[in-house]
């Protein structure tokens, strides 16, 4: 700062600016992302932490591959995908949720707001930089992903689609973290709120679904008929007992049997009305974009046996379909009618079971192959993303109209 020094003073050319722009620009977004990533260059301790994390992921992967048999199975792949989603949804928001109020507390936010960077540049740049770190987690799992994919029976396109959706879900979770960071004054609060939001989506929706089931339940009456053993003559009882033991009902006169009727009331949940709660769950969204597996024909289809995702899809589909006629039929029990059928000789006793079996299998197949609907979940995620970024951009715009309570500009 001495006056005597004659250092060259290079002239700089910064373009003139007008108005109060806020939209993100390509140059600005790129620059902010770069700054944020440079700042996040891990220290030695950080590298060690990431090393441990990577080792844990790989270790788990190897464990799964050792424990599993040689036949086709999609479970390892599904586990990796859930792990990637889980890690991404933890890491992304953890980073983004401190990046606005944290920066402001450190006094490094306002100097950037003073430059030509717009609020949009800062918002998107911070979002992308946090998201890239989560992306890196995905990259670290690649070796195991390749192995797990090779034996999963999935097609490449299907895997890529699921990966894209996972990255999108992580992006949204990161944006929500960023929004909390723009709203809350303290980093502790915004990180908790960000994870709470994720928790509500992942666990809260399931809990809510379970707890709302009684609210959408209808009372159904069901009539079961039994043979009234007490009122049978000795011959009749003996004949019926023999018939049950031998399977030969020819000696039984079904019309002579006295039957008792019992009426039960039971509730059935019309889960088709609350299934949307499950559909907005990020894990369900992932499952809803992964391939359908037909439980009857998977071998001919070149697929592995239904894994976690396929089973979850089936459960979700069952919830979406709700109670059906077939369910009601399967519930009813009519001993007298069964005996009549068997006594008439029209049907073998096993056939009754077969009919039941067929209905059940049909239902399983119907549920398993029920069309996938990730749209509700994805739609909500888009809304969250857009909403969160709107909040962030709005709160980053200067001149500030309002400040986070208990904070200063800087």
């Amino acid at each position: 700062m001495t006056t005597t020094e004659t250092s060259p003073n290079p002239t700089v050319t910064a373009p003139a600016r007008k108005g109060n722009p806020w939209l993100p620009t390509l140059h600005g977004t790129f620059l902010v992302t770069r700054i944020e990533l440079l700042r996040r260059r891990p220290s030695t301790k950080g590298w060690i932490f990431y090393g441990i994390l990577l080792a844990a992921i790989l270790g788990l992967g190897i464990l799964v591959s050792v424990l599993s048999t040689a036949e086709k199975t999609s479970t390892p792949l599904e586990l990796v995908l859930v792990l990637v989603l889980g890690a991404g949804m933890l890491i992304g928001p953890s980073l983004s949720a401190t990046s606005i109020n944290g920066d402001s507390g450190e006094g490094v936010l306002a100097p950037l707001q003073m430059t030509h960077l717009t609020a949009g540049d800062l918002a998107v740049g911070k979002l992308l930089s946090s998201w890239f770190v989560a992306f890196a987690v995905l990259v670290t799992t690649t070796p195991f992903l390749v192995y797990a994919y090779a034996r999963s029976g999935w097609h490449l396109g299907e895997l890529l689609l699921v990966l894209v959706v996972i990255l999108f879900l992580v992006l949204t979770a990161t944006a929500v973290g960023l929004a909390w960071s723009a709203i809350a004054a303290r980093a502790v609060a915004s990180v908790s709120l960000a994870h709470l939001t994720t928790g509500v989506l992942v666990i809260g929706t399931l809990v809510l679904f379970a707890f709302t089931a009684p609210l959408v339940s209808d009372t159904m009456t069901e009539t079961d008929r039994y043979v009234a053993w007490d009122e049978l003559s000795d011959e009749q009882s003996t004949a019926l007992e023999d018939a049950y033991n031998t399977g030969d009902f020819s000696a039984v006169d079904p019309d002579a049997l006295v039957c008792d009727e019992e009426t039960y009331e039971y509730g059935i949940a019309h889960t088709e009305r609350t299934a949307w709660m499950v559909l907005i769950n990020p894990l369900v969204v992932i499952e809803e974009v992964s391939p359908l597996v037909n439980p009857l024909t998977f071998e001919e289809d070149g697929r592995a046996a239904p894994g976690i995702f396929a089973n979850v899809h089936q459960m979700v589909s069952s919830a979406r379909i709700g109670p059906t006629e077939a369910d009601a039929q399967m519930m009813e029990y009519d001993e007298c009618a069964d005996i009549a059928t068997m006594a008439s000789g029209d049907d073998e006793s096993a056939d009754g079971g077969n009919a039941y079996q067929d209905t059940w299998e049909q239902q399983q197949e119907e549920q398993a192959m029920y069309p996938r609907t990730p749209w509700l979940g994805l739609g909500l995620q888009v809304l969250l993303l857009v909403g969160a970024m709107a909040i962030v951009t709005h709160r980053l715009r200067v001149p500030y109209r309002t400040l986070r309570t208990g904070t200063r500009v800087a």
Partner: protein, 312 residues
């Protein structure tokens, strides 16, 4: 310097009239009016919590005023805040730097944030680092910098885009003595280049040597002409130290010169240097053993103290 060539004929770089801003129920700035001229250093003086920083934030286009008019380099921060921010170099009172990045990287990236091409931004960053004596830290991460060094980096950061107006919020806070002296000289240099500088500080003795104008602020209001008159008055106060205090006071009383008692001597009011010389010659001639004679310390400090008596 391109600034001079491009400077419009008006000399006021900042013009603020009746600016007000509240945070919730707290009225941080009630009525602030000030003018900062090109080529001059203006001081913003007031107690902690009087609204200086809030006012500076509004001038910088970071905070929206509730009322009042602000023009920075001819632009209104409310509607044209991008132009205002482009014209302003702001050095915040809070020290912040990107721990992981080197000093040169920091300046280059901030330069690029102003859309200065990377090579130019780098060259400018290097020259500024030299200017603030941080060239040896150019490639070291900013986390190794001490508080005073960070302060100097912050000053360099405010100058990256050759701003026409410089807002310095407590720039000397935490600086070591030599850096304070250098900062004083550097600020004068910046003003000599035709830029307008608004600087706040609590060390009034240092401001005395650095500024052309002073704006006093108290409880959210800028004090206009009153304060200017008080500064002018304070500049006429001289202090006389004598080995024999009684002799001095007797001489003054005998000549019916009004004076205030001060430790080791007296305070008198003297219009200018010529009168001062006459007064001193008279005192010495009257046999008063004067061993010190001169203006009574910082005019700004005296004004501040006179003005701020009702603080509590």
């Amino acid at each position: 310097m391109t600034i001079l060539e491009e400077a419009p004929p008006i000399t006021a770089a900042i013009q603020a009239t009746g600016v007000a801003r509240a945070f919730g129920s707290v009225q941080a700035v009630q009525d602030a009016t000030l003018t900062v001229e090109r080529g001059k250093v203006t001081a913003l003086i007031g107690p902690n919590g009087c609204g200086k920083t809030t006012l500076m934030l509004m001038l910088a286009g970071l905070l929206r005023p509730d009322a009042g008019e602000i023009r920075v380099a001819g632009a209104d921060p409310r509607t044209d805040s991008a132009a205002v921010r482009a014209a302003i170099g702001w050095m915040p009172d809070q020290l912040g730097s990107w721990d992981n990045l080197s000093c040169l990287q920091t300046l280059t990236l901030v330069g690029q944030s102003y859309r200065i091409p990377a090579a130019q931004a780098r060259a400018k960053g290097l020259s500024l680092l030299r200017k603030v004596h941080l060239e040896e830290f150019a490639d070291r991460p900013t986390r190794v910098l001490s508080r005073g060094q960070k302060q100097r980096l912050s000053l360099a950061r405010a100058l990256v885009h050759d701003p026409a107006v410089l807002l310095l919020d407590e720039p000397a806070n935490g600086l070591d003595p030599r850096s304070r002296v250098e900062l004083r000289q550097y600020v004068r240099e910046i003003a000599a280049e035709g830029r307008a500088v608004l600087v706040s500080s609590h060390v009034l003795a240092e401001l005395d040597e650095m500024v052309d104008d002073a704006v006093f602020m108290s409880k959210g209001r800028t004090l206009g002409d009153d304060a200017a008159r008080m500064v002018a008055h304070a500049r006429t106060r001289y202090r006389v130290w004598s080995l024999d205090v009684d002799a001095l006071r007797r001489a003054l009383t005998d000549a019916s010169v009004p004076f205030e008692e001060a430790e080791g001597g007296a305070m008198v009011s003297i219009a200018d240097e010529a009168h001062a010389q006459q007064a001193l010659a008279w005192l010495v001639g009257a046999g008063v053993p004067v061993h010190r004679f001169g203006p009574a310390g910082s005019a700004l400090e005296q004004t501040y103290m006179a003005m701020e008596e009702d603080r509590r």
